[in-house]
Symmetry: C2
Subunit: 463 residues, 2 copies
C-alpha cells in the first residue's frame, strides 16, 4: 500500500515538473503574443477600412462582394500558403426604401426596420388595427379576431441577465417564426419589439423565416421606445390603426464566396484547425462588432503568430464565412466541400460575439477535455490577462453548421464581455466608433494565444 | 483506520449538504440583487447629477462642498439609521488660468495640465532648454547640466499589460517624486509624459509631492502626442527652448467632510463593515469613473439590499471619503477617529477603479480566507454573472490608509474591467458619457452581492 502510494507520488511530482516546464514556455509565448498584438496589431486599422471604406455588407450586395475581394488581398499580403475563394450560392435580400410606421390619427411615427427576409407591404402600405401580445402563444385566445390585423409582439428584453446572449435566445424564436405563425391566423403584418437591451429608439433587424404554403406577411422590428409608445396608445384606444410601409424583397440567388487562407502545418498538415468569423453583416450600421471584429480579429490572431515566428504543427485555416446573418449558406458550403474532400477538420475557433474585452471561450468538447483545458490553459490567462471563462458551451453559428459533419471536432466560441453587445446588435449603432482599440487587440491576443495552445498541445487534450 | 475514514466521509457529506443549502439561498438572494439593480438601480441617474449638475470636485472647492451636502441629503432619503458628516481639514489646491506650453521658435503648442500640488511658474512664465530622459535615474549622467533646464521625463506607457493598474504603478513614482528630484539638481521646471494608455492629446493630471527643504519647481503633465512632438523636435534641435506658464497654487487649509451613513446591524451592531469610495475628484473632466461610480455605486449597492428587505447582521457603514486624490486626509481622519473611539472595523469594501464591467475583487486577507472565498463565493458569481476574479491583492487607497490601524480587517477592492480606465483617468475625458449604464449597474449588483455574502457569512470565513 505504502509502496503503491510512493510510486503514485513520484508520478505526480514528475508530472508537475513536466507541466511546469511546458507552462513556463507557454507563459513566455503568450507574453510575446500580447506584446505583439498591443504594439503591432492591425485588427483595429483593418476594421476601420472594412467599416468605413466598405461599410455594411449584406449577403449578395456590392459591398459584400467588395469585402470578399478586399479581404482576399489583405490575406494575400501575409505568408499564408494558399489563399482562395470558395464559391457559394447565396440569397440576396434588399431593404428598399426607408420603412414607415405611423399611428393613424395622431400621426406619431414609430422607428422600424424590416426584418431580414420579409416581404414588402403593398406599394401603398397597409393600414389595420393592432393586436398586442407578449407571446405568440397568447394569440390563440384571439381566435378569428386576428384576421386582418397587425400582430404586435411586445415582449421586453430581460434586463436582469448579465449573459445577454441568453436574453436574446429567450425571444429569438418569436422573431424568426412569428411572421409565419401570425400569417397562419390571418394577420396582415407582423410588428416585433426589437431584440435588444436597454430602452432607446433604435430598431434591431434580424432574420425571419416563412413557412412554405403560408402566405407571407410583411414583418418589421420596432424600437423599444416605439413599442412602448404604441403599447401606451393601444391602452387608450384599442381600436387605433397603424400604417405600415416597406419595399424590401428577395432578389434571387447570386454568386458569392467564403474567403479562405491556409497556413500549412509542419507536422500534421492534413489535420486542420479552422478559425474565423463571418464577413457579411446586416444592412444597417457598419457591421463593426457583428462581425467586423470577428474577421479582422481572427486574421490578426494568425498574423500575430506569424510575426513572432511561430510554425504551426497543424494546418491553420482562416475562413471568412459568407451569409451567417440570413441563411448560413457559406458555412453549409464549407462543411459540404470539406466532407466531400474527406478533410480532417479537428478543431475550430469562431469569433462572432463582438470585439469587447475578452472574457474567455465556450467549449464544445467532452467534459474531460473541458476539465483538462481548465486545469492547464486557464491558469495561463487568468491573472495577467483577465481571461478566465473556459466553460462547456455551444460552438459559434458557422462552426455549428459545418460541425454536424465533424461531431468530434473540438470547438471554441470566443466570448468577449457581453454587457454592451445587444445595445447595438443589428442596429445603426454598430459602427467602428463603438469598438475600443485596446479591447479589440486584447481579444486578438486571447485568440492568438488559444490558437497557439490548441495547435501546439492538441495531442495532449483528452478526447 | 477504516472507521476513521468512514467518520471522515460522513463529516464531508454533511458539510456538502449544509453548504449546498446555503449556496441555494445565496443564489436566490444574488439573483434578486441583480434583478433589483438592473431594473430599479439608481446609481446611473445619481451619477448623472453628481457629474453634470455638480461637476468635477477637487478637494476644498465649492463643488466638493456641494457634493458633500447633496450626497448627505441623498443618503438621508434611504433608511440609514444615522447619517452624518465627519469633519476633515483638507488642503485646497487650485489650478488657476489655463496652462501654456509652447516650443519657442516654431510656436508649436503642447497640451499640458499642471500636476496637482505644483507651484506656479513666475507670472511671465519660464523659458529654458530641455533635458529629456526616460527615467529620473538617467538624470545623474547630466550632472550640473541639469541646472537651469526643464527636465522632461518621457517614459511611454507599457501598452502590453492588460492589468493597466500595474502599468500605472510602474511609473507613478516618477510623477510624485520627480519634481523634487529634478529641483534638487537645479532644474527650473518638470515636464512629465502623462500616465495614461493609448496615444492621444489629453494630458493626465495627478498628485505630485515636494520634499521639504527643496525649492519647489513647477510641474506639468504633457499629453502623449505632445510628448512625442517635443521629443521629435528635440532630436532635430537639442538646444530648443520651451516656454511654460501656469498659475496654480495651494490656497491653504479648509474645512471639509467625509459623508457617512450607518445601517445598524441586528446581531453584532458593534462590528462594522465599511463600504465606499471617494467623493473628491481632480479638477478636470467630471470625475465620473474616478470616482463618481465608486460613491454612487456603493450607495446603490446598500440601497439594493435595503430594497429587497435584507437586514444586516453587522453594521454597514457607507463612507464617502474626502481628498483621496491629493492627500488622503479623509481616510486618515476616518482611521484616527475610529481608533480613538475604539471601533471594531472588521471588514471593508472599496470601489475606486471605475464603473466598467465588474470582474471581481482583490482581497487583502490570509491565504486561507482567500481560498475559502474562492471555494464558496466565486462559484456563485462565475457562470451567470461573469464575475470571477477573487485574488489576493491590495486594498483600495482609502481603506489601505485607515487599514494600518486595523490590520486584521478583511478588505475587498472592487475590480472592474481594466482595459479603458487609464485612457480617461485624470483627464477631460472622464465624463458621464464614458460610463455605460448596464456595466455600472452590473457592478452595483456585484458589490451588493459581495456585501450580502460578507455580512451574512463573516463568521464562517477562516482567519
Amino acid at each position: 500500500m505504502l509502496q503503491i502510494f510512493s510510486r503514485f507520488c513520484v508520478v505526480i511530482v514528475l508530472a508537475l515538473i513536466a507541466n511546469r516546464t511546458i507552462a513556463n514556455t507557454d507563459s513566455l509565448m503568450i507574453s510575446r503574443i500580447y506584446h505583439q498584438s498591443f504594439y503591432h496589431g492591425e485588427a483595429y486599422e483593418n476594421l476601420r477600412y472594412l467599416t468605413k471604406d466598405i461599410g455594411h455588407r449584406i449577403t449578395g450586395s456590392q459591398q459584400a462582394a467588395a469585402a470578399v475581394q478586399w479581404s482576399k488581398k489583405l490575406i494575400q499580403q501575409l505568408p499564408f500558403d494558399k489563399v482562395y475563394l470558395q464559391d457559394v450560392k447565396v440569397p440576396y435580400w434588399s431593404r428598399g426604401a426607408k420603412e414607415q410606421a405611423i399611428i393613424v390619427g395622431s400621426g406619431q411615427k414609430l422607428n422600424v426596420l424590416a426584418l431580414g427576409g420579409s416581404v414588402a407591404t403593398p406599394a401603398g402600405g397597409i393600414e389595420a388595427e393592432v393586436i398586442e401580445v407578449e407571446l405568440l402563444s397568447d394569440l390563440r385566445k384571439y381566435g378569428d379576431d386576428v384576421r386582418g390585423k397587425i400582430v404586435f409582439v411586445n415582449k421586453p428584453w430581460d434586463e436582469s441577465l448579465v449573459e445577454t446572449g441568453v436574453a436574446y435566445g429567450l425571444n429569438s424564436a418569436q422573431r424568426s417564426r412569428g411572421p409565419a405563425e401570425a400569417a397562419k391566423l390571418g394577420a396582415v403584418a407582423y410588428l416585433f419589439r426589437s431584440l435588444g437591451s436597454g430602452i432607446d429608439d433604435y430598431p434591431h433587424t434580424g432574420a425571419t423565416r416563412y413557412t412554405q404554403g403560408i402566405d407571407s406577411i410583411p414583418a418589421m422590428a420596432i424600437s423599444a421606445i416605439g413599442a412602448n409608445t404604441l403599447s401606451t396608445a393601444l391602452k387608450h384606444n384599442a381600436k387605433l390603426r397603424v400604417f405600415l410601409q416597406q419595399s424590401c424583397a428577395w432578389q434571387g440567388e447570386v454568386s458569392s464566396h467564403n474567403v479562405i487562407g491556409e497556413w500549412t502545418g509542419t507536422e500534421s498538415p492534413e489535420q486542420i484547425i479552422t478559425i474565423g468569423g463571418h464577413l457579411d453583416s446586416w444592412d444597417v450600421g457598419e457591421g463593426a462588432h457583428d462581425n467586423g471584429t470577428g474577421t479582422m480579429g481572427t486574421l490578426d490572431a494568425i498574423r500575430t503568430l506569424m510575426k513572432i515566428g511561430y510554425k504551426p504543427k497543424h494546418t491553420i485555416r482562416l475562413v471568412f464565412y459568407m451569409n451567417e446573418e440570413n441563411g448560413v449558406h457559406g458555412a453549409s458550403q464549407y462543411g459540404l466541400k470539406s466532407k466531400e474532400r474527406n478533410e480532417n477538420l479537428i478543431a475550430a475557433i469562431e469569433s462572432d460575439a463582438g470585439g469587447f474585452a475578452p472574457r474567455g471561450f465556450d467549449i464544445k468538447a467532452t467534459q474531460e477535455a473541458v476539465q483538462w483545458i481548465q486545469s492547464y490553459w486557464k491558469p495561463l490567462f487568468e491573472k495577467s490577462y483577465w481571461v478566465s471563462r473556459f466553460l462547456e458551451g455551444n460552438p459559434g453559428v458557422d462552426s455549428g453548421v459545418w460541425g454536424k459533419y465533424y461531431t468530434k471536432a473540438l470547438m471554441f466560441n470566443f466570448r468577449p464581455d457581453p454587457h454592451r453587445y445587444f445595445d447595438l446588435h443589428h442596429t445603426d449603432k454598430d459602427v467602428f466608433e463603438a469598438v475600443d482599440k485596446r479591447e479589440l487587440q486584447s481579444g486578438v491576443a486571447a485568440l492568438a494565444s488559444l490558437l497557439y495552445l490548441l495547435d501546439s498541445q492538441y495531442r495532449n487534450i483528452p478526447n
